[in-house]
Every structure is written in C-alpha cells, then in structure tokens.
C-alpha cells in the first residue's frame, strides 16, 4: 500500500535539512521568485483571465493563419535580452562617404532598425536614407559566406598562410582603401606597413564622392589637408555652385540639420537664410534654393570666378540672367558679410581655391566655416589614386589589397585596371559581397558587416565614435582589421582588444572625467561617442538657450577663430580657370543620386526603389535633358537616346528635366553594376549603365541622338505641376513678416445662410479623444525632400518592395511619399499649359502619408469595417478583416492607401526584389511588431501605432502620463530638418501643440450635452490639406515661405485665387 509505505521522497537536500529558505518557500510553486521586469505588476484573477483569453485567441488565430516554422526558443535566456523588448546599441555608420552616429535597434538578438544617435554633435540624431537602408546589407544573402581563393571557397587558416607567404615574397604592395576615419585601423595599417615596408597605403574616394579639390585647396590656403566644419545654420546667405549639400555633398545629413534650422520660422523667429544655387542639373539643394541659376558644367567654375571678380569690382558673366543673379548674390553676400557661406561642388583645386578666397574675403572663416575643427570624412587624394592605378596598369605592383573600394567599377580607368589586374600576382580583397574588383582577386577575405564588427571613428577633430557588433557574424567572415593584424603578426590579433588598447593609450588621456579606463570605455560604448573637452564646450555653447538679443550681441562681439591664416594665391587660380574652362557645345555631367550613391549599395532594394527626390524615378539611371534641348532635338520622354562622349557611348531612356541647363545631358553613376546581387539586376541584366568612366568634372563634345527604342523610366510621380490648386500654400518671407497668415487660402462654401467655413456645414458628429489625440505637423518650409522618412518608414513598417515593373504600373507601396511639384509658367492660361513645368521652376516638396481624417471617407465606405477610427485620433486598418474591395483607396482624397496587388512576401516573382520578406535571411530584418501584409489587403500609414503602444506601455509601467517625446514615429525620427513633428494634441506642452499654437477652450454643452474641451489651432501658418472637403485631417501643414523679393503670380504653384479670410 502506497500510503503505508515508509519511503519518503525529498524535493532536495534542503527539505531533508529543513533549510530556512526552503521552509519559507515550501508552499510556493516556484522556490525562487520569477524574474520581474515591471515594477508593481500584481496579476489578479481578471488579468489572468484577460491574458488567458488573449493567448487562447492569439494561439488559435496563429494556428489558423501562419504556422511557425523555425521558432527556436532560447535554452538559456541571455542576459539583458527580453523577448519582445528591443535593445538599442550605439554604433557608427560610415559608407560611401556618408557618416552618421547611430543607434541600432535589436529584437531577440537581431538588428532590425537604424536610428540616429541624439548625442551626436554631427548628425544630431538624424540619418540619411542610405544609413537607414544600410541594415539590409547585413541580411544580404549574396554576401561572401566565407574566405575565397581563386574564386573557390577556402579555409580561413590555409588562406592566411598563403596570403602571408605571398606578402612576404612581395616586392611592391599597395593598399587601396576607402577613406579611413578609424584611428585604430589607421594604426593597424601603419603597423602592417612597418612589417611589410614595400607597402603603400592610398585612400580612394569614388570620383563622385571625392573632395580632392577642397582638400588640396585647403592645404594650399591653410596648410591643413582636411575638410573644414561647415555650419550652414550660421549662414544668412548661402551661395552654392553645384554643391548638392543637402543631398550628396560631403556630410549632407549634417548640413541638412543645420540648414533646416535656418528655414524654421515662428513667433520669435522671423528671419531665414537666403539661398542661391548655380548648377547644371536640378539637384535637391537647388530645388530648395530661393534663387537658382541654371548653368552648364563648364560654367560652374567660371561663375565662381565671376562672383570673385564681382566682389573685387568688375566683370560680368556671359549669361545675362545668371549674371543678374550673381550680382544679387554678391550684394546679399556683402551685406551679410561674415554670416554667409559660399560652397562649390567642383573637384578642381583651383575652383576651391577661389571659393576659399571668396569666403576669406567675406570673413566667413570662424563663423560658418571652421578650419579649427577639421572634418576627416574625405581623405582621398585623386592624384595619388591615379598614380597607383597607373602603377598597377604599368605592371609595377605585384600585390594589391582592396579594402572597401571597387575601382574596377568606379574608377574612370576601371576597364584598363581590370585587364591589368590579371598581371598582378597577388590581389587581396576585403569585399563583403562579390563586386567587379573582388571577383578578379585571388584572395577574398570578406570583411564583416559594420553591424557585426567592432570599429572606431574620428569623423572630426575631437569627436570619437565607436562601432559595436549587434549580432555575431552571420557568415564565416572576419573583420579586415583582424586580417591585417594577423598578417602583420601583431601581438593582439583581436580587433576589439586592439581598439581598447589604442583608446587606452591614445584617447583615454584626453579626458579628465573618468579615472579608470573601464568606466570610460563603458560610458563611450553606451553613448556611442566621446567628445574631447574642447568639443564639449563648443557643443554646449550651441545648445545653451540664449535670448535673441544676447545671440546678436554675441555674434557681433565674438572674435572669429581662425586656424591658420588664408594664404592661397587666388589670382593664380583665377587665371588657371580662365584658360581651362571654355563653354562650347553640348556638355555632360555625371552625379550621384541620393539613394544609390556610388553604387556600393546597389543590391539594396529599399534604395533602388526609393524615388529620386527630384525626378521621382527609381530602379535605374536615365539621361536627363532640359525641355528646350528636348524640343530642339525632337526627343520625347521615354525614348532611348544614344549618348557619345570621350570615346564611350551608351543608350539610356531620356527624362525631360525642368530646371536643367540647356545643351547638357546629366546621368547618374551607381548603376550598371555587372557583378552585384539579385536586387541590383533585372532579369539577370545590370540595371542602367555605368557612367563612372565619364566621372570627370566637365565633359565636352558630347553628342546625343534619338533612337527608335522606347523604354519608360519608372517614376512614382508622373504629373509634375500643381494645376493652380491650393495644395501647397506658400508666400514670401517679406509677406510673412507683414502678415503671418500670408499665402493661406481659406476655402468657403456658399449656403442658404450665407458664406460658411466647410467645417460649419457637416453631417458628422465628430470624435472625442479623451486621452490622446495623435497628430503631426509638417513644416513645408523645412522639408527639403530628402526621402529619409520614406526609407525609415519602409524599414519600420515592413513595407514591401515591388520592383521596377510594378513601379511602372504605379503600384509602389511606400506609406509616406514626398510629392514634388514644379511651378508652371506664369502665363499659363489653359489647363493644358498648366500641366507643363516652367523652364526653371520653383520646386516644393510635400510629405504625404495617411492624414488620419476625423471625417474619414475611407471609413464610411468599407463594407466590413476593416478601417475604423480609434479613440486617439488614428484611422486604423485591421488587415485581417480586409476583403480588398479597394473602395477606401478610391475614396481617399489623398491617395495614400496602398493595396497588396500580389502576395509580395510569397509570390515567386518578387523574391529577388523583396528579399526582406521572402528570403529566410532577409526576413530577419522584419519588425516583429508589424504584420507582413498578405495579398489582397489594403495598407497605409498607421502613425507607427506599434511605437505609440510601446510608448504608452512604458509610461504605464512607470506610472506616469505619456510625455512628449516618449513616442516618435519613424519618419519624424529620421527627418534631418525636423520638418515632421509628431505628438499629442491633447498635451499643450507638446511640440505639436507649440507648432500649432493650440488653445484650450471649454465649449458649453448644448441641449443638455456635457461640456467639451476643444483644442483649436491658432497658428496662422497651419492648414489642413483639402480643407474644403471637410475631412478634418489630424495632420497639419505649415506654409512654405521663400526668401524671395518678388512673388510669382498666376499659374504658379501658388495661384492665390479667391483667397482671403472668412470668419
């Protein structure tokens, strides 16, 4: 009998010994308390039932729809890792010359999103589209999966042996690397050279990335071969000659944040910078300029000289119209002397020398240009690079190491280099993924992705940042630094230890805050960066809030700090330019786009599908010509043209670009990658044409001829003018200062009771938002159109990539798009004429996402209630409920709803472009908080509802109300100019409330109804899009204001018909 049995089983030795702890916990199910992360979460019976109900429902739903295939639970829970709670790691992004200090969001051990690091004095928490998209490179299935020898997979150890052997026997080693801003990597390369004395290190920037001209000019002018720190926020007048400083020039994200500040206006700030742009193509920067002159590439240098001469009395510029603008710019520069900035995108040292002279003459050094804190993000010396390439071609080199460069593709002499490389004995590449150069190398020792590796960086003097791994290397790769350490037989071959050692000896001593290195290191790792004391002081100065008067006084009294005196010979440069540049005939310019850059991320479908901010084209390059040139040559849009220049000819579809200089053709580099992953090709063929062989400043003697072939450019926007509608409401600065609501149009409706505001005639009862009223304010004046928001949103919300064919069908899925409008001719009288953009148009950008209408037309028409209104002002989609009638999209006046025409995540036809959703590795980048939508359902901007939920939960756990800033949408987070502000309209202290000057009123309840709190918008610049149809969006726009003397009239982007206020 069991009960009689004398046997007794103990739970453990503790029971036998009657351990005190054991007796205490004997009654509990778990002897040790369960881990708690949330303070004061006492689960009661109701919570249990709620949770159980939810879990049962969730489990059964999950069972019905998507079987979980590869979920492997943690055997042991890693420390600091809680399922469903993201961890953020500070790191650094530096690729293709684009630098930003970032935070990497990881979920369950996989990086899923990149955000800017707010602590960074450079990018100030902002990122470019390229930085946002760079995370995809980590999950690129076409990366090298291990070491390669002669095109075949090899063992790391044996390859190391072979490499070492060949290095030892080498007589002439060249290391060709991209700009290295990592001080420890530089030190490693130095050690490597010490070990192999025949080695020479040359830093190489792609021709369109290179800042050779500025570096050389600064060397001559100031004795410092570095970029200065530009501060566009200090410039009242900005004159740029072909420098696309908001898009692709040097540290564009940094400049955009600065520029954005000067474009902000408000109650206390009634002044903004005035921006002149002289350029060939219509660049993003030119599109934002107040005045813009279209000049040919050869004229860019001449225009700089003309400005220099004007400042020194005399000489006119050949082009009358441009001359007038130059004169105006000169006058403005002189009156803003000391607070202006002149930049040029030229890579010719002579031109940059003249620019330096102009800036020196205007007293801009020490204010908008700071030579004392040089920037190191460009170090490439074109002359040295060309010398090395010539050396290789000449056969004088027996070993080359390619580190982060692809010269076979992007050097003008790439073709010659390619054939010469077969004669070079040892070619070693650190490429991450196969490219044109690495496939020619006999040793490929793939580097780790920056999200898998340690690194450090010094982008500017006094600013150090760290890169830390956020995931263990996915493939059998090793960081290039470790390879170099190993080959040079260094003491430490672990790069992490090496960096620590380097920092301990070199960086640690520059600070006084921390006594021990360990604390210092932890703090730097946490913040992602370390600023030397001098830098901290400077940043603080900038941040400290001072009143306007104080600031004025400061700028007047402040002594300009100058690093070395300007000692360049401008006269010599001027005469050099005079002889070098002659404008004649048809010219060509190559440039790099916002998205694809120098082509290193050509396998990135997010970037391939990102519409160019100006042309709105994606998936390929094209030949842009001006309207007049098109007419003269009889070329219409979509036809393929044959362009011949410098012994090279290629065929590309034509794109007619308003604003471009006549008799020029402009083509983007970064396309035509022959050796690239799947997304960089269409049907196995390279996308577009590689024009790097033509990447030299000025290309003359170009011919362009029409062919019979037709190929459409994939554009997301094909109608370019605003048709005189009040969509963009804009004015000039002078008008705005006089009347803050200048440019606003107040629609009115005639009714039997007289003229009424649209909101006064309504059938709608309205919604009540007792807790939150989420909203956005978009400042059209500071939006520069850079499209970082589009990619940030795509990454955050798992937005599908659809590929070129589908974009041509006008089916891109982006939740936030940027509408770009050109002004049409002032004389336009008919609708047909208004459809045509003027030759040098004014440009406006308008970010557009779901407007979250209070009276939402989509909500009423959905037959199954799949789109409904939340109690917090959101228009929400229930994907599960959607049956896909598309009625909501038809009835949306803003056309922001996107339909899943196919099952993008499962349809075989989309596996190459949409690998983030179709490929097992690619899927790792998906945000687990957001559903991947299936075929046949509608989707749209949710105002990052998952972030709102997370923010509310954090506040709840901390037992407080949600503060402004707890929740920030992906688009607002990325926006370099803070044009998008997100927040709660029920919180009068929020940024949104401030931007809208919200006033709280009590409305007496009528007919026995309760009293109601009403928040009304009093900001005179604020308007809602399409106010006349009374859909009452939660999103407001602030008027666009141009710093122009005169206002354009009828037919222009802002046709002010029937304006005037009606109250």
């Amino acid at each position: 009998m069991m009960e009689d049995s004398p046997k007794k089983y103990w739970k453990g030795i503790e029971e036998l010994t009657n351990d005190i702890d054991f007796v205490k916990n004997a009654e509990n199910e778990f002897a040790e308390p369960l881990p708690k992360h949330e303070p004061n979460t006492e689960n009661n019976r109701r919570d249990f039932l709620k949770l159980m109900g939810f879990s049962v429902a969730a489990v059964s739903l999950a069972a019905c729809e998507t079987p979980v295939k590869y979920a492997v639970p943690y055997l042991n829970k890693p420390e600091n890792l809680d399922p469903s709670i993201p961890n953020f790691y500070a790191s650094t992004f530096f690729e293709g010359g684009d630098y930003s200090s970032i935070l990497v969001k990881t979920r369950e051990g996989r990086p899923i999103k990149i955000e800017g690091n707010n602590l960074s004095p450079i990018n100030k928490g902002k990122t470019s589209a390229k930085a946002q998209a760079s995370i995809l490179g980590l999950y690129d299935d076409t990366r090298y999966k291990g070491f390669m020898v002669n095109g075949k997979a090899g063992k790391m150890e044996s390859i190391d042996e072979e490499v070492k052997k060949s290095l030892e026997s080498a007589s002439n080693i060249r290391i060709l690397s991209s700009t290295i801003i990592s001080p420890s990597t530089e030190s490693i390369i130095k050690d490597f050279i010490k070990k192999y004395p025949t080695a020479k290190h040359v830093q190489y920037d792609s021709p369109t990335v290179s800042a050779h001209g500025i570096l050389q000019a600064n060397k001559e002018s100031f004795g410092v071969e570095a970029l200065p720190s530009y501060d566009f926020s200090k410039a009242k007048v900005i004159v740029s000659f072909g420098a696309d400083f908001l898009g692709t020039w040097l540290s564009a994200t940094e400049y955009a944040t600065q520029y954005g500040k000067t474009r902000k206006l408000g109650k206390d700030k009634k002044e903004m910078s005035r921006h002149y742009q002289f350029e060939t193509r219509l660049s993003l920067t030119g599109a934002n300029a107040d005045y813009r002159g279209a000049i040919k590439p050869s004229e860019e240098a001449l225009a700089v000289v003309a400005l220099y001469n004007k400042l020194n009395g005399g000489e006119t510029f050949a082009n009358k119209e441009v001359d007038k603008l130059l004169e105006k710019a000169k006058n403005d520069l002189q009156s803003a002397s000391g607070n202006s900035l002149v930049v040029s995108g030229s890579n010719d040292p002579a031109v940059q020398m003249v620019v330096n002279a102009i800036n020196n003459q205007l007293g801009n050094y020490g204010n908008a240009i700071d030579m004392s804190t040089p920037s190191y993000i460009r170090k490439g010396n074109d002359n040295a690079v060309n010398a090395v390439i010539d050396e290789i071609i000449g056969g004088g080199v027996d070993t080359v190491i390619f580190y982060g460069v692809n010269p076979v593709y992007d050097h003008p002499k790439g073709k010659e280099l390619k054939s010469a490389l077969s004669n070079v004995k040892n070619k070693i590449s650190f490429a991450l993924a196969p490219d044109e150069t690495s496939t020619l190398c006999n040793f490929v020792c793939p580097d780790t992705h920056f999200l898998e590796s340690w690194n450090d960086a010094m982008p500017k003097k006094g600013i150090y940042t760290l890169t830390q791994p956020t995931i263990t290397p996915i493939f059998k790769t090793r960081s290039a630094q470790e390879s170099l350490l190993l080959w040079s037989e260094a003491k430490t071959t672990n790069f992490h230890d090496f960096i620590k050692g380097y920092w301990n000896t070199n960086v640690f001593k520059t600070q006084t805050k921390f006594k021990g290195f360990a604390n210092f290191w932890t703090s730097v790792l946490h913040d992602g960066q370390y600023l030397t004391n001098a830098t901290i002081a400077e940043v603080k100065e900038e941040v400290t809030e001072t009143t306007k008067e104080d600031k004025k006084a400061e700028t007047k009294d402040a002594k300009p700090k100058v690093a070395g005196k300007f000692s360049g010979d401008a006269g010599k440069a001027v005469s050099e330019i005079g002889t070098k540049y002659k404008t004649a005939g048809f010219e060509m310019q190559v440039y790099q786009t916002q998205a694809i850059g120098n082509g290193s991320q050509a396998n990135n479908p997010w970037l391939q599908e990102m519409p160019d901010p100006i042309t709105k084209a994606c998936w390929g390059n094209y030949a842009s010509i001006s309207q007049k040139t098109a007419k003269e040559k009889g070329i219409t849009a979509g036809y393929v043209v044959k362009v011949s220049a410098k012994g090279m000819s290629f065929e590309l579809p034509v794109l007619i670009q308003p604003g471009q200089a006549d008799n020029t053709v402009v083509v983007a580099v970064g396309y035509g990658r022959e050796v690239v992953g799947q997304a960089g090709k269409i049907n196995g063929k390279a996308i577009g044409v590689n024009v790097f062989p033509l990447a030299i400043d000025v290309i003359e003697g170009v011919s362009i001829a029409k062919t019979d072939k037709y190929e459409e450019v994939a554009q997301t926007q094909t109608h370019h003018t605003i048709m005189g509608r009040d969509i963009i409401q804009e004015t000039t600065l002078a008008e705005y200062v006089k009347k803050p609501n200048a440019g606003r149009n107040y629609p009115h409706v005639s009714s039997p009771d007289g003229i009424k505001k649209p909101s006064e005639i309504t059938l709608w009862k309205g919604h009540k938002y007792p807790n939150h009223s989420w909203s956005m304010v978009i400042d059209l004046n500071s939006c520069i159109g850079c499209s970082a928001c589009t990619v940030a949103c795509q990454a955050e919300n798992n937005v599908s990539v659809v590929g070129k064919a589908e974009v041509l069908m006008r089916r891109e899925m982006h939740w936030i798009r940027i509408d770009r409008y050109y002004s049409s001719n002032e004389s336009a009288k008919s609708w047909g004429e208004m459809e045509e953009a003027s030759a040098n148009p004014e440009v406006t950008f308008m970010p557009l996402m779901c407007q979250h209408c209070n009276n939402a037309p989509c909500e009423t028409v959905c037959p199954v209630l799949a789109t409904t209104h939340s109690t917090e002002g959101l228009n929400q989609m229930t994907y599960n409920r959607c049956i896909g009638t598309r009625y909501c999209a038809n009835n949306c006046p803003y056309k922001v709803r996107r339909f899943n025409w196919f099952h993008y995540a499962e349809d075989d036809r989309f596996t190459t472009v949409n690998y983030t959703q179709t490929n097992d590795l690619g899927k790792m980048v998906l945000n687990p908080d957001v559903t991947v939508r299936s075929r046949g359902v509608m989707e749209k901007c949710s105002m990052c509802v998952q972030r709102i939920q997370a923010g509310k939960l954090t506040a709840k756990k901390e037992k407080r109300h949600v503060k402004d800033g707890d929740v920030i949408t992906a688009c607002a987070q990325a926006c370099p100019t803070d044009a998008i502000t997100f927040g709660d309209m029920n919180d009068l202290n929020s940024e949104v409330a401030k931007a809208l000057s919200l006033k709280k009123e009590m409305k007496k309840g009528e007919h026995g109804a309760e009293d109601e709190i009403i928040y009304s918008i009093t900001e005179p610049r604020a308007y809602q899009l399409l106010e006349e149809i009374n859909v009452k969006p939660q999103i407001s726009y602030l008027t666009k204001i141009r710093n122009k003397d005169e206002k354009k009239g009828k037919g222009d982007a802002n046709a002010n018909h029937g304006g005037g206020e009606h109250h």
């Binding site: 370019h720 005639s750 009423t860 959905c862 049956i883 999209a889 038809n890 006046p893």
Partner: protein
Amino acid sequence: MQYTSPVREPLVLRQMHKNDRKTTMHDITDDICRQVEAAPNMRWMIALGISLVVLAWGSYTLYRTWFFGIGEWGLNKTVGWAWDITNFVWWVGIGHAGTLISAVLLLFRQKWRASINRSAEAMTIFAVLCAGSFILMHMGRPWLAHWALPLPNTYGSLWVNFNSPLVWDVFAISTYLTVSLVFWYMGLIPDLATIRERAKNPISKFVYGLMSFGWDGSTKTWARYEMMSLVLAGVSTPLVLSVHTIVSFDFATSVIPGWHTTIFPPYFVAGAIFSGFAMVLTLMLITRYVFKLEPYITLAHIESMNKIILVTGSIVGVAYITEFFIAWYSGVPYEQYAFINRMFGPYWWAYWAMMSCNVISPQFFWFKSMRTNIYATFALSIVVNIGMWFERFVIIVTSLHRDYLPSSWVMFWPTYVDIGDYLFSFGFFFTCFFLFAKFLPVINMAEVKTILNSSTREAGEEYTKEEHIGETKTATAHLF
C-alpha cells in the same frame, strides 16, 4: 375579356396553316416547343461552341486573377476600380430591362410583353450573375466574400458596415437576383408542364415533370398563378428603381469629383433601362431569326422597345448635360476640372465614344423607318451597349485617374487579364443563354395564348383574307 383596338398592330401574327386554318393555340405550342424537343441544330451548336471557347479562355484569365491576385489587372495605386466595376455596373444595367418588362409592363397591362418577357427575364438573371461574378473577381481576398454579408459569427459583435454603399449593393443585388429568379421560374412552370405532357422520352418526362412541380392546369392553379404573378410584379417593380439607384450610390456618396453627384440615381436607372432594352433587342433579334419566331416577336415589339430606347437615351443625354452645368454652377474647381478632363483630357476618346453612342445614336429612332428597320435596330442596339459600357468607364476611370492631388494622377491601361475576365462574363452569359434557349421555352406559351385571340381578332381576320400568307412584313405595312 380584353379588347384591343384594331388600329394597333397585332401582337401575334396569325398565319394560314394547312387546311386553310389560322394559327391556333396548338400551333403556338408546336412552334415554341419545337426547339426544346427537336435535336439541336447546327447553328445552335456553333453558337454554343463559340461561347464555350470564350468561356474557357475567360476561365484561364479568371484563374490568374484569383490565383495570383488583382495585380494581374492594370489597376494601380490611384485607379482602384476600372474594368471590374465598369463591367459590374454594365451587367447590372443590362439586367434591368427584364424586370421592367416582366413586372412594370405586367402591372401596366402591356400585353405585348408576353412574347418577350421570358427571354428578357432569363437575360436578367444571367446578367446579374455576370455582374455578381465581377463583385467576386474584384475582391482582393474573394474567399472571404461572405464577410460582406451580415452573418452571425464567432468573432463577437463583428458585423458589416451598414454605412457602406457596398453593403447596400450586396442587399440590392442579392434581392434582385432572388426575386427575378423566382419570378422567372414561376412563369416557366405552366410551360414546363406543357413540355412534360408532350414529352415522349422518359428522361425528359421525368426531368420536366420534376421541374414543373406537378402543375395540373386546374382553374385554381391558374388563379393562384395569376395572383402570384401580380404579387411578384409588385415586389419587383420598386427593384427596377432601387437596384441601380443603390449601385449609383457607390459613386454618389463618395468624395471624388465626378462621382459625388446627386443626379446619379435617376440617371443610372434611365441608363440601365436604356442598355437593358438594347441588350434585349440584340438577343431577341438573334433568337427571332434563329428560331423563326417572327410571328411572335413582331415589328411592333421592336418598335415599342426602340421608343423606350429613345426616351431613356434622351434622359441619359439630358443627365450628361446637367452634370456639366452643375459642375460649372457649383463653382468647385475640382469638379470643374473633372468634367473638363473628361472631355478634353487623356481619355477624351472614351468620353466622345460615350456621347456619340448614347446621346446621338438613339436619336435616329425619331424616324419610324429606323424604328422598324431590323438591321438598323440591331446595329444601334449594339452601339448603345458599347456606349453604356463607355459611360461607366468614363465615370469610374476618368474621375479616379485625376482627382484631388496632381501628384497621384495616373493613366489606367487594361492588361490581357482585364480583357479576358470581361470575355469570361460574355462566355458565361452566352453559354447560359444558349442552354436556356435550347432546353427551356424561349417564349411564354401560356401567356401568348391568352392574347392570341383578344389582340388580333379583327386584324388577324383582315390580314388572312386579303394578303398572301407568310410575308409578314408587307402585311403589317398594309395595316397603316
């Protein structure tokens, strides 16, 4: 007892038969049942064959639509409906004539309806089924189509959105289909019983016996039949107005310029009857020829229908002009642009096709010579339906493709799947119609018999005395 004025044309032309006798009721039975009882003829086989080929091709494109998704069509982010809803509205419109003929004309005691109502009703049912197929086709997730019905479910209080015109559509179309089907079938029962009685083949006897629900032809049964016809006519009559009114709400209740128009309900109903009669004419003229039914479907029938086409076509024309006037008068720039864009925008050709087919072409029917010309009628009936298709296309696509924000303005071009799915509906429609024409009596024998004597007593006698037999055309002309 009914008396029809002798100046009217006879509704059934009585021919001289053997033994010097006029068409009797038995002749009617013979004439109509011949098609059902005889072996299928070659013409019918070819017609059905073509329909089946079209249906097969359409089924392939339909498979692509359903298997891969709506992306197989040419739709895009701005134009969310195009051929699908154009075809849907077009087919629903075509269905309208059947109900009008069977219900409204019954209530108004228009005896001439008797020889055309059967096939007009059949056409209604097939047309509504075609329309319904586009509702299913256009859904992103057609397997969840039942969610549009207010079905009790296990998701708690998950219900349809009664604010949505699409839900109203579901009710309107399903009611319409049900009532039309019942009405049509009930009318068939006496004729099915006749065929049952005549059947020599035991299978036919059994099948038609089953289908005729034990009809015994007693006076009581006939009395109930008559009463039921009236009741169903009463139920269907409002449907003639309501169905297309509700379909027009899909557009009228929206905010899109060019859709948001209060004139839509009457204008859509007129348009529906317009296209419905045109389609009835197209089909009747073919059937009349194929089955030699000239004595039953006379020029008088054709002329009456042409008059209706003239009236409704003119109503539609006035509606078009009114829309333009209102667009100008409203002072709403978006509305004005929408209409200017229709006329002179990139889809100008669709607009002018609509105008010439719908407004100009029916005006020919002011002339009696045109109204009574079979070839002209046949051609115009097809032109009218082309025009009415373009009308829906113009309303849907030109309004959507350029609405509020120019940044989203696009063009829509159909793919071969768009076209294939439209062909599917044709294949389905004609397959059904030809099967109907072979296996069911295309003319309501029972009702035609009731008007044989009453409507043609005098006229018939006069006709048979004075004129040759068989040349119906000259005979009718002589009467006037």
